[in-house]
Point group: C2
Chain length 497, copies 2
C-alpha cells in the first residue's frame, strides 16, 4: 500500500516557486468562494511521525487565509471529553459550513495506536474502524468535503528524519521519547495503518497517501489536491449543478406504503387504565424507587438519556414532570427541542444533540429529540427524502455510541387515539390557562394523522434496536402512561447498575 | 444581618395548600410570558448546608415548567474550566433571554469558602467580591433579572437538621464529612457570609435572606418573591413601558467632544518606515525569536491573546499572517469577529468572546474583537449610548480577569493616514484578486473618518490600562508595522516567561 509513496519524489526550487505562485492565488480564490458555499471542508492529516504533518499545515495556512481555517490537534482527552462518548470531541470541533477545519490525526488515530500497543483486540479495532466509516459517511452525506492525507516515510527515512531533528537544537524539542518508541514499532504500525487505511478509504472519503520525504513535493501535492477537491465540490454544489451531489444517497428510496393500513401504533391497546387509588399508590412507590436508583446511578457515574416523543396532547409534559418529580434538581436536565438555531443549521443534523450531551452521572431528558427528522421533518417535507432516509442509520449509530459509552438510553413514544386527541384539543381551547398549549400547528398536524402514524411505524421498525428499544406508551389514560414510564425507566437504570 | 431569619417563621398546611394553588398558576403564566421576553432570569441559591436549597429548587421546578429552566450545580471545576479565567464556567452556563437559569452557590461561594478556609487573604476576598459585583452589574445592565436567595439556619437549627438527615437512612447520603466540617466553622462562615452578602447586595441585585427552618414557609417565600420580581421585570421591559429599565445607566453620558480636534491617533507619527533590506532581515530575526518564545510559553502553559483592531485597509490581515508565520499551526487560532449569531444575541455582549477563550498554552488572535462595541457599534448607532458607555468598564473587567488568570494580552490598533487609505482602496478596486477585499461598507466607514477617530481616541483613553495597554501601530508602511507587532508580541511573551 505504501510502496508508491517510497519513490523518492521531489520538486526542484524553481519549479516549486513557479507553481506555488499560481497555486496560492487559486487556493485563495477557492477559499473565497467557499465562504459563501453551503458545505464545510474537513481536512484530516494523518501519518508517520516526522513525516512533515505540521510543516505541511503551516505552509497551507501561509498560502490561504488563516482566519477561516481552524486547526485541531487533539491531544489526550480532557475530563469533560472523557465523560462523554468518544466522538463528542470531534463533533464539538466540526467546522461550520463555509469554513475549513484541519484535524491532526483525527478519529483514525485512536484505533491504530490502541491496536499497535495491544490496548484493544482486532475485533474492537474493526468495530472502531466501522465507526470511523459511519462518521465520515454522515459528514459526506451532509455535504462536507472530506479530504484525508496520509503522510508516509519509509523506515529508513523516518530514522534519518528523527535523527536529524534530534541533532538540530532548534528542532530537538519536537522529537519525544514516544516518537522513538513508535519508531521501534515501525513495522507493526505500518501493518496496522495499512489495514486501517484500506478499511476507511471509501469512495466518498478516500485517503491520499503523500510521500513525506521532500518538503516541496509534499506541500505542493497536498495544496494541489486540496484545490482540485475544493473546485470539484464547489462546482458540484453550485446552484443548478447537474450532477447529484452524493449519488449513493439517491438510491435510498422511502419505504413502500404498507399493504394493509395496519401499523405498530394501531396494534397498541389504548384502553389500558389505572384507577385513581391504584395510581396514587403506585406513583409514590415508583417515584421512590426511581429516586433511589437515580441516586445510586449518580454515585456510580452512570448517565441516563430519556427521549420523549409522542402525538400532540398525548401528555408528554405531565409525564416528564412525574419523572423529574422523583429526581433532585442538581441531577437532571430537560432539553426541549425546537427549531434549530442559526449555528446549529451550519452543522450536520445531529450536531445539536451531541452538544447537549451531559457529563457522566446525570439524567438528561429530551422533550422531542433527534427523531424529529424522521417524524415532523419527513411528514412536513422540511427535508429531502434522502436526508430522512439516511437519518435512521445515523441515529442508530449515534445511539450505539451512547450505549457503548455506558449511557442508559430509554425512548418513549406516547400515543393517544384520534378521538381522545380531539377531546383534549377542545378542552385546551376552552380552558383559560391551558390555551397557550394549543396552536394552529397542532390542528394542522392532526389533519396528517395517517402520515404521522406511518412515520412512527417506520421509525419504530428501523430504530428499535437491541441496544436502544422503543417503549410504546398508551396514554389515553394519563395515569397508566405515567406509571409505565416510571417503571420502565426504573427497570432500565436498575439493570445497568 | 441574619437575626430576621431566625424568627421561627412557619406556614400551616391549609394556608400552604391554598396559597400554592394560586401561586403555581401565576408562576406558570409569568413563565409563559417570559418565553417571549427579551431578558433572562438568573436565580442564585446560596446559604447554609442543610437549609433546604435543593428542596426549594425541586419544589420550584415542580411548580413551574421545568423545560425552560436550567439548573447548575457547579462542583469542582473541570480541567477545561481550570484552564481558563475563573468566570468562564459561569459565562458558559448563562441562560439565554426568555429562559431561567438556577445556580446553586454560584459565583459567591468561592470567595466565601476560600476565605473561611484561609486559602485567601482578606484583600483577595475583597477583590473577588468586587468581581462579583461587576459581573452582576453587567448582567443587570444587559437586562437580566437577577434574584438571589440566601437560605439561613441558626447554628442550633443547623445541628438539628444535619443530625436528623444523618439519622434517616433515606437522607443519610446527603450529609457529607464536609458538611460537618463546615458546621464546626459555623461562626466563621456566618461572619464571612454576612460580610460577603453586604458587599454584594446592590440596588439592582439585592440578596433576599430566607429562613430555612420551615419548608412550607421557605418555598412559599421563595416562590412569591420570584413571582413578584418576574412580574415587575416583565412590566418594566414591556414595549412602551414608561420607567427606564436600568436608571443607573442613563446617568452615563457620552464623553464631551474634545476642545480641539486633536486625538491620540493624530499624534501618531505615520511616516515611520523600514527599507526592504532591513525589513527582510528583521522579519526573519523577529519571527525566529517569536517562535522560540511561543514554544517556551506553550510548554509553560502560558496563553496569549492578541487583539487586532484598526482602520480599514490598514493591513490587519497581512500583519496577522506575519505573526502566524512564526507559529506552529497546532498552537494558534484566529477568531475573526463578524456579526453575532442568533445564539450570541441571546446573551450579554461579551458572551461571544468568553466562549472563544482557549485553554492554557495557546495563542488566540482576535481579528477584530470586543472593541467593536465602542467602535463600529458606537459610530454606526448599532447600540444605545448607554450600552457602549458601560462597555468600557465591562471590557476592563474582562481583560483584568484574563490577565489575572495569567494570560498575556496584547492589543494592537493599526492606523493609516486618510490619503494612504484612499490609495489602498483604489488599488484594491483596480486589482482583480484584491477586489473581494473592498466593499461598500469600507467606503461608508471612510466618510465617518472623524467619528471613528474620536471613538478610537476614547477607546484608548478608557481601556489602555496598566495590565492591558494598547499598542498604536503606524501602518502607512506595512513593513514597519509588521516588525513593530512582532517585536511587541515577543517582548510581552518574554516578560511573562
Amino acid at each position: 500500500m505504501f510502496e508508491a509513496a517510497e519513490l523518492g519524489q521531489s520538486v526542484d526550487k524553481e519549479t516549486y516557486a513557479r507553481e506555488v505562485a499560481t497555486l496560492r492565488e487559486e487556493l485563495l480564490a477557492a477559499q473565497q468562494e467557499l465562504r459563501k458555499a453551503d458545505f464545510p471542508v474537513i481536512v484530516v492529516i494523518g501519518g508517520v511521525d516526522g513525516a512533515g504533518k505540521g510543516e505541511t499545515v503551516n505552509t497551507l495556512l501561509e498560502w490561504m487565509d488563516p482566519r477561516y481555517i481552524e486547526t485541531f490537534a487533539l491531544g489526550a482527552p480532557t475530563d469533560e471529553e472523557r465523560g462523554r462518548p468518544r466522538y463528542w470531541r470531534f463533533w464539538r470541533a466540526l467546522p461550520p459550513r463555509g469554513k475549513i477545519g484541519i484535524f491532526f490525526g483525527g478519529w483514525h488515530s485512536a484505533p491504530i495506536v490502541d491496536r499497535a500497543y495491544r490496548n484493544i483486540k482486532q475485533a474492537e479495532m474493526e468495530r472502531q474502524l466501522a465507526e470511523v466509516v459511519a462518521f465520515e459517511r454522515l459528514l459526506v452525506d451532509d455535504g462536507a468535503l472530506l479530504v484525508k492525507f496520509w503522510m508516509h516515510l519509509s523506515k529508513e527515512r523516518q530514522r534519518k528524519r528523527l535523527k536529524s531533528l534530534a541533532k538540530d537544537p532548534r528542532t530537538r524539542w519536537r522529537v519525544t521519547d514516544m516518537d522513538w518508541e513508535h519508531f521501534e514499532m515501525y513495522d507493526r504500525f505500518a501493518k496496522i495503518s495499512a489495514h486501517a487505511l484500506r478499511r476507511t478509504s471509501t469512495g466518498a472519503a478516500p485517503w491520499t497517501i503523500v510521500e513525506g520525504d521532500d518538503r516541496r513535493y509534499q506541500t505542493l501535492t497536498v495544496g494541489r489536491h486540496l484545490l482540485a477537491c475544493l473546485r470539484a465540490q464547489l462546482a458540484a454544489r453550485a446552484p443548478g449543478a447537474a450532477a447529484p451531489v452524493a449519488p449513493t444517497i439517491t438510491a435510498a428510496q422511502p419505504p413502500p406504503p404498507p399493504a394493509e393500513p395496519r401499523t405498530i401504533v394501531s396494534t397498541l391497546d389504548l384502553s389500558q387504565r389505572l384507577d385513581d387509588e391504584t395510581y396514587e399508590h403506585k406513583l409514590e412507590e415508583c417515584q421512590g424507587a426511581l429516586n433511589l436508583a437515580a441516586r445510586k446511578a449518580a454515585k456510580a457515574g452512570l448517565s441516563t438519556v430519556v427521549v420523549y416523543e409522542g402525538v400532540d396532547a398525548a401528555g408528554k409534559g405531565g409525564n416528564i414532570r412525574r419523572v423529574t418529580g422523583a429526581l433532585d434538581a442538581r441531577m437532571y436536565r430537560i432539553v426541549p427541542i425546537a427549531a434549530p438555531t442559526e449555528e446549529e443549521r451550519q452543522h450536520p443534523y445531529l450536531w445539536r444533540f451531541w452538544r447537549h450531551l451531559p457529563r457522566g452521572g446525570n439524567v438528561t431528558i429530551f422533550d422531542r429529540s433527534w427523531y424529529g427528522r424522521v417524524l415532523v421533518e419527513r411528514v412536513e417535507g422540511f427535508c429531502k427524502p434522502a436526508d430522512w432516509m439516511r437519518a435512521y442509520s445515523e441515529i442508530n449509530d449515534f445511539e450505539e455510541q451512547l450505549v457503548g459509552h455506558g449511557v442508559v438510553l430509554v425512548k418513549f413514544w406516547l400515543q393517544i387515539g384520534k378521538d381522545e386527541q380531539l377531546r383534549r384539543f377542545e378542552d385546551r381551547a376552552a380552558t383559560n390557562f391551558k390555551r397557550f398549549k394549543i396552536t394552529d400547528d397542532d390542528w394542522r398536524n392532526r389533519e396528517r394523522w395517517d402520515a404521522y402514524e406511518q412515520a412512527v411505524n417506520d421509525m419504530v421498525e428501523r430504530t428499535s434496536t437491541e441496544h436502544a428499544p422503543w417503549t410504546l406508551v398508551a396514554t389515553n389514560d394519563k395515569r397508566f402512561a405515567r406509571i409505565q414510564a416510571l417503571e420502565t425507566l426504573h427497570a432500565a437504570i436498575s439493570r445497568a447498575l
